[in-house]
């Protein structure tokens, strides 16, 4: 279990995590980048500037 750096919720991560992978927090939806796997370290993923309508 790792804590989300945005909302503080526990993030349930899958096993074969790789550095550079983007995971999202199930609670707040934040996109987080895996920067280390042992121990797992997460940072906010670079903004994807995703278009969201209008």
């Amino acid at each position: 279990m790792t804590e989300c750096i945005q909302c503080g919720a526990d993030i349930d991560l899958h096993d074969d995590l790789e550095v550079g992978e983007i995971v999202d927090c199930g609670t707040c939806g934040a996109e987080l980048e895996v920067t280390d796997v042992d121990p797992v370290t997460l940072e906010e993923a670079p903004e994807l500037a995703e278009d969201w309508g209008e």
């Binding site: 909302c7 939806g29 934040a30 996109e31 995703e50 969201w52």
Partner: protein, 344 residues
């Protein structure tokens, strides 16, 4: 089984109440009243209840029952409260008649009260606010739909002191047409009501009183009718004394709602549904709450969305009854809503 009857069963909240009670594992429907449709089948008014083998009775034919859900317009319950309490151990009223703590407030916001001696017995239904007092309550006052969405959106900020009574709060609400009840008038005819963004209560909406009573906050309230049938969405523009960090906000909301079965936090993330919206909860008893920080304006925007027919009335009433009677809190309220869904 616990028997339950519905007064005002031909109305919108009454129909919803019947549906919920009929699907509840602990309840069985006894009677439903309607003056206009007495002796007609419930299914002739509520097509989704065609499977229910029940006909409306006149209010005078109401019999004793364990729980009475009263779904009539404002003013009816207060007039009949003695009779209702004689008929049933537990009375759950969906109107505004027993929501406010104080007869004076009825003078200010309504046209007074004719049975103020019962006010002290009434418990406000919202379990997120008043769970501890609901157990065993015998007169329950289900909250106003717009008050409910507003209270749920702001409560974490108040509980954690981020927001205090001195702070400025604007609440801009958008609601669906079922809020008007089955009666309707010219303004709620389909040609006039379709596609609107209509300021229907620009100021002085009565739910301000409820919010102030239960949240301890005076809010500037404005309600707009928009093109949906179900839903109340409150956008709360809040100016805290000192701006909280994002994680403080998450902390506040999680602390308040982490254990709540019917409140979901939705604040950002990816995909189409990033903030609370009524269509994500339509048909369900869930509330979505969330927020966004506005650094530039030292503002927190809190969003809250419910289905006014469910969390905003019949669902809340049943939830409170579950608490009052010691049933599983979520009993009869498991439906999670639909996706995709149009304008439910």
């Amino acid at each position: 089984m616990t028997s339950a009857s519905v007064v005002g069963g031909s109305g919108f909240t009454g129909g919803e109440m019947l549906r919920l009670v009929a699907g509840h594992p602990e309840f069985e429907v006894a009677q439903a009243t309607s003056r206009e449709y007495a002796n007609k089948t419930v299914g002739s008014v509520h097509p989704n209840l065609r499977g229910l083998d029940l006909r409306f009775v006149a209010p005078d034919d109401l019999e004793s029952v364990d729980v009475l859900f009263v779904c009539t317009p404002h003013g009816v319950t207060m007039e009949h409260i003695e009779e209702y309490r004689d008929l049933a151990e537990t009375v759950v009223d969906l109107s505004a008649d027993f929501r406010l703590p104080d007869a004076d407030l009825y003078d200010t916001w309504y046209d007074g009260h004719v049975a103020p001696e019962h006010l002290a017995d009434a418990e406000y239904a919202l379990p997120e606010l008043n769970r501890e007092n609901l157990a065993g309550a015998d007169l329950i006052a289900s909250g106003g739909c717009n008050a409910t969405s507003t209270i749920l959106g702001l409560k974490p900020l108040v509980d954690t002191g981020i927001l205090t009574p001195d702070d400025q709060v604007v609440v801009d609400v958008k609601v669906g047409s079922s809020e008007g009840g089955a009666g309707g008038g010219a303004a709620s005819s389909h040609p006039e009501r379709s596609g609107v963004v209509r300021p229907y209560a620009p100021t002085s909406h009565r739910h301000e009183a409820e919010i102030e009573a239960y949240l301890g906050l005076q809010v500037s309230f404005t309600v707009h009718a928009v093109d949906m049938v179900r839903g109340s969405a409150a956008t709360c523009h809040v100016y805290p004394e000192s701006m909280p960090e994002t994680k403080d906000l998450w902390g506040a909301y999680r602390e308040t709602y982490d254990e709540e079965p019917f409140v979901r936090l939705v604040a950002g993330g990816s995909g189409v549904y990033r903030y609370p919206e009524p269509k994500a909860v339509a048909g369900s008893n869930h509330a979505e709450v969330g927020f966004e920080r506005d650094e530039r304006n030292d503002r927190v925007v809190a969003f809250s969305a419910i289905d006014n027919m469910m969390k905003g009335s019949a669902g809340q009433a049943l939830h409170a009854a579950n608490v009052a009677l010691g049933f599983e809190e979520t009993a009869g309220l498991e439906f999670t809503g639909l996706h995709p869904v149009g304008s439910p």
